[in-house]
Each structure stands twice: as C-alpha cells, then as structure tokens.
Symmetry: C2
Subunit: 168 residues, 2 copies
DNA sequence: GTCATACTGGACTAAGATAGTCCCATATGC
DNA sequence: GCATATGGGACTATCTTAGTCCAGTATGAC
C-alpha cells in the first residue's frame, strides 16, 4: 500500500547513476548497461525526467543526459512529482471537482494532515541522500525487515512478475 | 502519487459512520444509505473490515456491524493495513526475494527512511481523528488547496470516471 | 554533405490491478 | 418457517502500468 510505482523506482536508480557522474554526459544506452534496466524503459524514463527538468539532455552524437542540478537540490518530492504526478492521498486532494458528499464527509482534513506529513518527509530527502551508500546510513532497523537492495527488478526483463499480493 | 485506493477511502467513510454510533449495530444497508455508497460495495468492504478485526459482525436478523474497539484505538495504519495490505514503499520493502542488484542498489535504505516517516504519521492518526469534524481541526492550509470534502465518489456509481491524469 | 549517434514525441500492446456486482450458503430473531 | 443479515467466493468491465517500437530531428566527425 502507498507504494511508488516500479517505474519511479527505476527512475530513481537512473538519477542515482547520473548523480554519481556529475561531469559526464551519459547516453541512455550507457545508463541502461550500468543499471541493468532495459534500454527502452530507460529511454522512456529519461525523456520524462528531462521534461520534468530533473535532467538536462544533449542531442546528437556525443550527446546524453546529465543532472539538471546538483543531487542535493533534487528532493524525493521532485522525483515523485515528475514520475507519478502531483501528490495527493485521495482524489479530492488533487482534483478540483466539487464533492457530492461535502456535508457528510468529515474525513478529508485528517487525510490532509497525513498528506502534509508525507510531503514533509519527501521534501526532507534529497537525491544525494538516496544515492548515499547504505553503510553510511545509521539505519535503525526497527521494522525487522532486512536491509537488502531492491529485488530482481531489472536485467532479464521480469515478465509476468507477480507484482505483489500486497499492492494497493 | 502515493494515493490510497478509492475503496480504502470508502472504507474509512464507513468506519467513521460506525464510530459515530458506538452503541448501534448497523446493518450494511443502513451504512450504505447514510454514506450514499453502493450497497454491494459497502457489503464487500464491511466483510473485509470484519476479517481484519476492525469491525465486529452480528449475523441474522437484527444483525449488523459495530466497531471492534473504540475509534481512538484504531489507527490509520490499521485501516490501510487491512484494506491495502502491508505498508511498503517499494517492492523490496514488503517482499522477501533477493535482489539481483544488491551490489549496485543504494537506494533502498533511503526509501526505508521515508517509509518509516510515513508509518509514523499513519500510526499517529486514529479513526477518532479521522471522524472529527473538519471545523475542529486547526488546519493550516499551506498548500492553497481548498479544504473541501471528498469528490463525487459515491451515489450514482461513477462509471468511466477519469481516475486522474495524476495517478501514479 | 553524409553518416552514425542520440534524443523527441508519440502510438501501441499485454498484463495486472481496481471497482463494482452478483449468487449461494449460513446464522439468527420473531 | 420466514424475513433479515452476514460470509465467502466468483466474475466482469475498465483503467493503469510496464514495456516496446517507430518515425522524426539534432549534432559531431569524417
């Protein structure tokens, strides 16, 4: 639940890759090779990221992509905003049409409280944080879940992958 | 992005309805009438909520549903947990299979930081908070979005509703 | 000028998730 | 026994997501 999409996850990996090479202009093929994601998917995501002004593109031979600004200046909220659209826990928080239930609905203001808490957390994490190697994080693993890397997301394009059994 | 499903939203409305009537045993038809949600949908959700131990059911004539415990003892995390499955921002945070990228992936620990922040926020909000009328909330509407109720979710079952243009 | 390399924009498909409905079985009070 | 309820599933249409592909355009090298 409250899960980010797989593409957003991939997109973050791509940004992390670029963040590690601030002075290089990386072509999509390069990024795909290093992240082990499928090339068409990487191309698609880089296009989106460029349109969202998170990366800058250079066309033509010797072209490629670079971060549009330093990793510390890109927040998780920026990334999710570009790859998943505007934040909003419920439909009424992002859409503007009038609610037929207005009188009866008492829920939205509390959802918005939650909404703000999440937004704050997203603003607080920068791409630089995301790119930081795990070992430098003083991780308090309170949840009991193991702190491993992302699952078999990439490489042999995981067809028919069972997305969850948990997904919202 | 990071949106809760519509059914979860409905489920919350149902819980709020029950929270307002702690001593009544409300049949699904009753809940549907008051929330203006479609009866089959309400039935489905109440079943789920009962299985998740958030509501208690009484079968037979004069039967219906009540909250399983006081509204203050039910958190938003409980609700989302029952209606959307286990919390987890990325697949690797809820699933246990090994990640092929382990060496290369540096992202997960930061996502987990975010994950914890969200979890904390969800734990902090109780059904009692959600049920509280908006006016009692000292809402700091920093976002500029109007604080209206949920949109035309219910009633004339909104077929072909354009879910977003924003949805993750 | 031509060619290879890359990005740009968009269309398209398959698979999966979501929302919503319906049916039959079972329990209970009158 | 009957009306009223919940319980457990199955089922369908629709939307979203992931993933691929193609034709167009820009740029540097030769």
């Amino acid at each position: 639940m409250l899960r980010i999409s797989r593409l957003t996850d991939y997109g973050t990996m791509i940004l992390v890759h670029l963040a590690a090479r601030p002075d290089e202009c990386c072509p999509a093929s390069d990024v795909a090779a290093h992240t082990r994601l499928a090339l068409p998917t990487v191309q698609k995501l880089l296009k989106l990221l460029a349109r969202g002004d998170l990366v800058r593109s250079v066309r033509g031979a010797e072209g490629g992509y670079t971060l549009a600004r330093p990793a510390s200046g890109i927040s998780a909220a920026d990334i999710l905003g570009v790859l998943e659209g505007p934040l909003g826990l419920t439909e009424c928080s992002t859409e503007s049409h009038q609610c037929e239930l207005e009188a009866g609905c008492q829920v939205s203001s509390a959802w918005q409280k939650l909404d703000r808490a999440i937004r704050r957390a997203l603003d607080d994490i920068s791409l630089a944080d995301l790119a930081e190697p795990p070992r430098e994080f003083p991780v308090l693993n309170l949840s009991g879940r193991s702190l491993q890397a992302r699952p078999a997301t990439p490489a042999p394009p995981p067809r028919n992958r069972n997305r969850t059994g948990a997904r919202p």
